[in-house]
Amino acid sequence: MVEKADVEMEMADNPFEPYIESLRQQLEEQDPVLLIALIVALAVVVITCVFLKYFLSSKTVRSAVLLVGLCESGKTLLFSRLLSGNFKRTQTSITDSSAPYKAKNDRACTWTLIDLPGHDSLRPQYLEKFKSAARAIVFVVDSAIFQKEVRDVAEFLYVLLTDSVISRNGPAILVACNKQDITMAKSAKLIQQQLEKELNTLRVTRSAALSAQDGSIGGSMYLGKKGKDFEFSQLPVKVEFLECSARGSKGEEGEADIQNLEKSLAKL
């Protein structure tokens, strides 16, 4: 092995020949066992470096798609529909569930779909745990009772958008307006307008909120542009609104109406 390399090098550049000759003589004088040990050690070091680079780089680790939203918005059912197409009865989740998801596109890449609990007291800690691994965030909104909950939805969205980790990584945010099978459901466009209005006022009140007792101020980012009304297009992250229905229009046995969602996930 060593000789072949030497031969090639000899062919390549002649000026180095005397050095190579002396090197070869020195190497031949050495014990072969020692040589082999040296080569093995070098190889191990090289392989370790390659592995570390592979695993520590953040780009490949961010392969999670998070399902977030308020309580009772339909995240767990959406999770079930996306993965297996089945209808399952659900209760309030108290821990996260995760499973690999194959996107329906040509490249057939696999994401990890993670369903986070929506209850107010569990939301912050689960978000904390998973936000750094997020490649996309699906924000599920209950379109039927949106009018009553608009302030809570807007506050959660505000927390998401002003989070430092999320604004640094820049995952795609898909706002899925769920429960479109109910007749009173609002359309995605209406929900977008209402949220823009609400976030407009919210960014003023939240920046004026009291700092915490140890002096830390949460979320000092100002959304959008000052002086102008807030619009989602002003944000550096991509926010997309789409409609879907996890239950499906035909009741429990029918198919869910989630083509839009699947298409958007395929585009990631």
């Binding site: 079930s80 993965l83 089945n86 995760s98 919210l202």
Partner: protein, 689 residues
């Protein structure tokens, strides 16, 4: 059987609707037995229902009650006892922490089913054994794709449970010969007052060998004073041989006896114990430590020398005050720190030594077994049992109590964490202590996180758009800082551009109105009228002292509506939670005026009292309101936070008891010392050693 009812692959639930047959082997049993239970569900902690059963004739979905169970019990860390009632249903549940499952059974509250606890345990074991392979997989795919066909096992277990309960309830009555009454003599049953009662008691004690009466008899033998009356009661209950007339006779005599004695806490033992035989004569009282001679007490000789002694004495007295007179001149010396510190350190050392010895003793006891267990725990996958967690939880409970968490809340929290962790499989290289600590930390953070959105400014803006004032009421016990924090909150609101009306509903405390007037003057000088559109930012609405607080509040709110003030802050008088008339007055104020926010002001220095205060305040507010949806405490203001270093346990006690968030934290006595709560910081201060 119609086609529509056959189970399809996607359906895993049986809905027994009346009039249709079920595709189950033993349909009749299911319909009959199902009348007892309303529903039974098995679902994962991630929210997917794996299997469910709904009893016959029950049409409502059970999702509502189960969600209520999850939200109020499991998420609020009250899972110490495993039952919960929601409207007419009573729910019992069991957590399986190894596979992350929850088993819930619901039945009507009026039925008292005794077999339910054992039934849940049996179902859990059965389900686990049968579906071990599917459940062990990480990730939710298996759960989603699998159909858990559990009906047959379920009906079998239900039948066993019901039959076993039926078997237990039908105990055959004993015949007269077998009873103990036939072994008594007639004479022993005749009652006479006084001494004979004790003899009779003795006789009854002998014959009562039943298990229920045995402890009562033992205690009756031991202590005669109070227990004899209770002992007699249990004897009555345990003895089935008494006729009703004898029973009534005995009760009547007991009643008379109690009347004679007065407050019957300790019936005079003289009626019970046999009277001493000879009459007592008067004897001189002898004190034990008195000594015998009176010679030592005779100071007559010294009095003779009294003049010289007196002089000496007066000289001495002159010298003593001489020493004292000049010693306090000049600066006051500081408190003697060293001795007190040493004393404290010694105490701490003692405590540490004591706990250390107890620790070493426990360590020594289980050292060999413990070592192998520890190694096994480090490397393999060991599942937590309550014995493993017991010492760690005890230590954590003590730690929480030293950090000023109320004692019974600390114990409830530890019970809840134990329930959550029981049976859980630990990962490699994690010790029991670290798992328990992590779980406790998570549950503490969860308790402190608010369960609803807390954004006062947004709500005030909302009320502003509806052209009505936003009313905040402050209530609490005496001296917690209501008026001071009211001033701080009005400063914060003014800084954000709102106009504030302060209603002085504290008509009792001297100087309360003047204090608020001073605050009003100061705030107006800090934010002069000219800068805020020509009208004063703060105004005080007061009617002096002695008037009805609820009336003043109502007038203040009407005034605010007319003058278009944005916020009304209502200051009430401090009152102790035991003071019933004052609590009624406060409840009336709140019920009549329907404020938008009722804030309870509590100081961070309070310890176990916090629980009592909050419970009684909430109770009073609920009792005295007319409507069926009473206004309870909506939020908590935690004051004097700068006086505690890291003994922040009061925050936990208050949020645990009410379930309401901490809205403001007061950290000092100037206007800018107002903060919001940071749950993580508080919990890390709490868990810090």
């Amino acid at each position: 059987m119609t086609e529509a009812n056959s189970l399809t692959a996607s359906q895993t639930c049986i809905l027994c609707t009346s009039g249709r047959f079920l595709p189950v082997k033993d349909e009749n049993y299911l319909i009959r037995g199902g009348k007892m239970l309303d529903f039974f569900t098995i679902f994962s902690k991630g929210g997917i229902v794996l299997w469910c059963f709904q009893g016959a004739g029950v049409s409502e979905s059970f999702a509502g009650p189960v969600n209520a169970l999850i939200r109020s019990v499991i998420l609020q860390e009250r899972s110490g006892n495993n039952s919960y009632s929601h409207e007419a249903l009573s729910l019992k549940y069991k957590l399986d922490n190894e596979f992350e499952l929850i088993f819930v059974v619901g039945f009507q509250k009026i039925l008292t089913l005794t077999y339910v606890d054992k039934f849940i345990d049996d179902v859990q074991l059965h389900f686990r054994d049968r579906y071990k392979n599917e459940l062990e997989q990480k990730g939710a795919l298996k759960l989603l794709n699998n159909n858990f066909e559990f009906e047959d096992d379920f009906t079998m277990l239900l039948r066993e449970a019901e039959e076993s309960s039926k078997a237990r309830s039908h105990v055959a009555m004993r015949s007269f010969k077998e009873s103990e009454k036939s072994q008594k003599t007639v004479k022993s049953m005749i009652e006479t007052k006084g001494v004979d009662k004790s003899k009779e008691q003795g006789g009854k004690k002998n014959k009562n060998t039943k298990k229920e009466a045995a402890p009562a008899a033992d205690s009756a033998k031991g202590d005669k004073g109070k227990v004899t009356s209770s002992g007699q009661k249990t004897v009555e209950n345990g003895n089935q041989g008494l006729t009703p007339e004898e029973d009534m006779q005995k009760k009547r005599e007991e009643f008379f006896r109690k009347r004679i004695v007065g407050t019957a806490e300790k019936p005079i033992s003289s009626t019970k114990s046999p009277k001493p035989q000879k009459p007592r004569e008067k004897r001189m009282r002898v004190w034990d430590m008195g000594g015998n001679s009176t010679k030592e007490l005779d100071y007559s000789k010294s009095k003779g020398e009294g003049s010289t002694n007196g002089d000496d004495q007066s000289l001495e007295t002159k010298m003593d005050p001489g020493m004292q007179v000049s010693s306090m001149e000049g600066e006051l010396p500081p408190v003697d720190y060293e001795s007190s510190d040493e004393g404290e350190i010694e105490e701490e050392d003692e405590r540490v030594v004591v706990s250390g010895t107890s620790k070493t003793s426990s360590k020594k006891g289980g050292s060999f077994g413990g070592m192998f267990g520890m190694l096994k725990g480090l490397v393999g996958s060991k599942s937590l049992s309550s014995d493993d967690m017991e010492p760690v939880l005890e230590k954590m409970k003590e730690h929480l109590i030293t950090k000023n968490v109320a004692a019974d809340i600390a114990s409830k929290l530890c019970d809840s964490v134990a329930k959550k962790l029981e049976g859980k499989v630990m990962g490699t290289f994690t010790t029991v202590a670290s798992t328990v600590k992590q779980a406790l930390q998570d549950s503490l953070v969860q308790i402190l996180q608010p369960k609803r959105r807390v954004d006062i400014l947004r709500d005030v803006m909302d009320a502003q758009s509806q052209r009505r004032p936003f009313v905040i009421t402050f209530c609490g016990v005496n001296g917690v800082g209501k008026s001071t924090n009211l001033a701080k909150i009005s400063f914060w609101l003014i800084e954000n551009g709102f106009t504030v009306l302060i209603a002085a509903c504290d008509t009792f405390r001297a100087g309360a109105v003047e204090q608020l007037r001073t605050h009003e003057r100061r705030l107006n000088s800090l934010h002069p009228q000219e800068q805020h559109g020509g009208r004063p930012v703060v105004q005080l609405y007061e009617k002096g002292y002695g008037k009805d607080a609820a009336g003043i509040a109502m007038e203040a709110i009407a005034y605010a509506r007319n003058q278009v003030f944005d916020v009304v802050l209502v200051d009430t008088a401090g009152r102790m939670q035991d003071n019933a008339p004052l609590m009624t007055a406060l409840a009336k104020l709140i019920a009549v005026n329907m404020p938008d926010l009722v804030l309870f002001v509590g100081e961070a220095l309070v310890g176990n009292e916090a629980v009592d205060q909050l419970v009684k305040f909430n109770q009073a507010l609920a009792d005295h309101s007319m409507s069926d949806r009473p206004r309870l405490i909506d939020g908590i203001v935690l004051t004097k936070f700068d006086t505690i270093d890291d003994k922040v346990g009061a925050a936990i006690s208050m949020t645990y008891i009410t379930g309401q968030p901490i809205v403001f934290v007061g950290t000092g006595q100037t206007y800018s010392d107002l903060r919001s709560l940071n749950a993580r910081a508080v919990v890390s201060a709490l868990m810090k050693a």
